[in-house]
Symmetry: C2
Subunit: 360 residues, 2 copies
DNA sequence: CTGAAAGCGCTTACAG
DNA sequence: CTGAAAGCGCTTACAG
């Protein structure tokens, strides 16, 4: 009966509350005729309060339209429920997909996420330090490669109980203390290259990312390993640096097109570059895959609708995002006690139509 | 001399500080032998403090590695320096570009931004209310259409001094109180359609967004106006709804392909859909633009590298983002006193190669 | 189960 | 120019 009453607080009251200035916990306490401590308990530990009191308080909350001041809560608790994710390129659909996973998990766990787009590997230790303190966050997700400099700063921060986890990036030994989740980039790149080889290609080039990106290094490493294993040589000038962007790849591809010994296939370190690569090849009047075969990496959503549809390595981007966020939550909650072993997620070669047998 | 000394605090001290537990303003005050009030002033209003004291304090700050607890600051000041941006699709490169502008401006102004991806027009008033209170932000940027329901909630919030500004979206009369910055969507859509007409097309279809999206409505309106003005009729089934995604557009395009009176040109409400549209047309063995011409909207970075390169309406996405963020800052600082007239930014028809004269 | 009280780290009138 | 003090809105031992 009483319950019913509480459940049917007239709409109007809520509407009125909407127009009221902010109510604090004091008003609620006064109205319910209890202490502010009890109001707080009703909200955060309802089981510590009698059903009767709880109802009184809930009623008062409804009448006032009260909701706790999260600023005060954050301050008091010493936690913001905000995490920061650092990534090199928010525009890359691959990272967008990872972010989707991160956001989903964050929402489920009650966190907000702020994004910092930056090439971590080009920052000085001071800059990184400044970035970290200026954003008062509960933890950090790193989707970008670090300079050794940065690593030091991060390790220091980490010791001061700023949880950090790494996603996508291959983790260098000096970062082994941090939890991470990523695919096996070396194996994936090998697989991509081997596929090209299995189709009869021998002159295979690669467009990779910046030299300072570990992830890119691993993909290059896998490519080189596969070539070596197949006894195929890599000519000078066949490994060119894009910067993971369309524009960078177009420029890199031009170099490849002008190479004395033009490759019959190109392995791109990401799909974004594969798109630029295909476009550039076409601008030479050549056709993909008839004249040159292309393999990408990431399987972004555009890979399916490029012309031709792109053969590429698929990463479970959203899953990586989710896992990395949950991992961070565990660190935030359990501290450095939580496991820090790397989590390897599976990749997959997705065969579409950008690879054919070599013409020559 | 003294200045010099201060400027050359040995590296080591800073390094030490890195390892220390959090220092509060009290430690600094003790070390500098002043009150915490003075320390606070040194940081926030240095001009209110003697040069001598200032140096003493700055020294202590350096030695301790102190940086103010932003949680406490936020709480005390009642401001978080966080803004929220609500948008329908973080994956759309157009919004990514807008976000880049927002982020740049936010950084310049000392704000962090959190993103909320949601179809505002499908949410109930309660859901919107919950979303708003759960994120304690200083202001909101809306890049998504609102239901009338949502509008009410927002107006109420706005009266309670939660600054809101609208970007990209056309603003309906009931939202006229909010500042906004966007292109003239009607005029732009007209221009796109007129271009098709000028090339000799008469059977022109449109793939638009969800019915509930104002922006989409405006683009459709512009298209219809242009058709009418040219005395061209629009057959039933020529205006189909994608949902601003590749997949949605592919489905919509299939309907167009199967239409008894197949159009010779298609105007897509955004580039993302144009990409899906082109892909689908090709899957019928047809060619763009030889068989069907396509015009997109937004000029995302892929527009240039589609096959064929896409003719589209270019919006100054980053500029919109920057302006909308600066606009929000003004609202946060000046309150509702700040201007609320809409800011119209220029668009441009970018002619590439997805339009040809009709074959028939 | 409940209340009185301390305290989180800052900022800012208010005196002096 | 500087300091002592109040207070922002909460949460949480500590008594009772």
């Amino acid at each position: 009966m009483k319950q019913d009453l509480n459940d049917t607080v007239p709409q109007q009251e809520a509407a009125e509350a909407e127009d009221m200035p902010d109510v604090s916990i004091k008003e609620v306490a006064r109205l319910a005729d209890v202490s502010i401590a009890t109001v707080s308990r009703c909200i955060n530990n309802p089981e510590k309060v009698t059903a009767k009191t709880r109802l009184k308080v809930q009623d008062a909350i409804r009448q006032t339209g009260y909701s706790p001041n999260t600023l005060a809560q954050s301050f008091r608790r010493g936690r913001t429920n905000i995490v920061m994710v650092v990534l090199p390129s928010v525009g890359d659909p691959f990272f967008t997909a990872v972010m989707r996973g991160i956001r989903a998990a964050a929402k489920a766990k009650g966190y907000s996420v702020v994004i910092e787009e930056t090439q971590l590997n080009t920052m000085t230790a001071d800059e990184i330090g400044a970035m970290l303190v200026s954003n008062q966050t509960d933890g950090i997700i790193l989707l970008a490669s670090m300079s050794p400099f940065g690593t030091e700063v991060l390790s220091a921060k980490s010791k001061r109980r700023l949880p950090i986890v790494i996603g996508c990036e291959t983790v260098s030994p000096d970062l082994a203390d941090f939890p991470s989740v990523h695919i096996d980039n070396i194996a994936a790149a090998k697989e991509a290259t081997n596929y090209l080889i299995s189709q009869g290609h021998q002159r295979i080039a690669m467009v990779c990312g910046q030299a300072s990106s570990l992830l890119t290094k691993d993909r290059e490493f896998g490519y080189r390993a596969a070539m070596k294993q197949a006894d195929l040589s890599i000519e000078d000038g066949w490994v060119v640096e894009g910067d993971l962007t369309i524009a960078g790849a177009r420029k890199a591809t031009r170099n490849l097109m002008n190479h004395g010994n033009r490759p019959t296939a190109i392995f791109c370190a990401n799909d974004e570059m594969a798109i630029g690569c295909i476009h550039e090849i076409k601008s030479y009047g050549l056709r993909v895959p008839r004249d040159i075969s292309i393999v990408g990496f990431d399987d972004i959503r555009y890979a399916e609708v490029t012309d031709p549809p792109l053969t590429t390595i698929s990463q479970p981007a959203e899953e990586i995002g989710e896992r990395v966020m949950y991992r961070l939550c565990r660190r935030i909650e359990a501290g450095n006690g939580a496991s820090s072993s790397p989590e390897i997620v599976p990749h997959k070669l997705v065969i579409r139509q950008s690879v054919a047998k070599p013409a020559s």
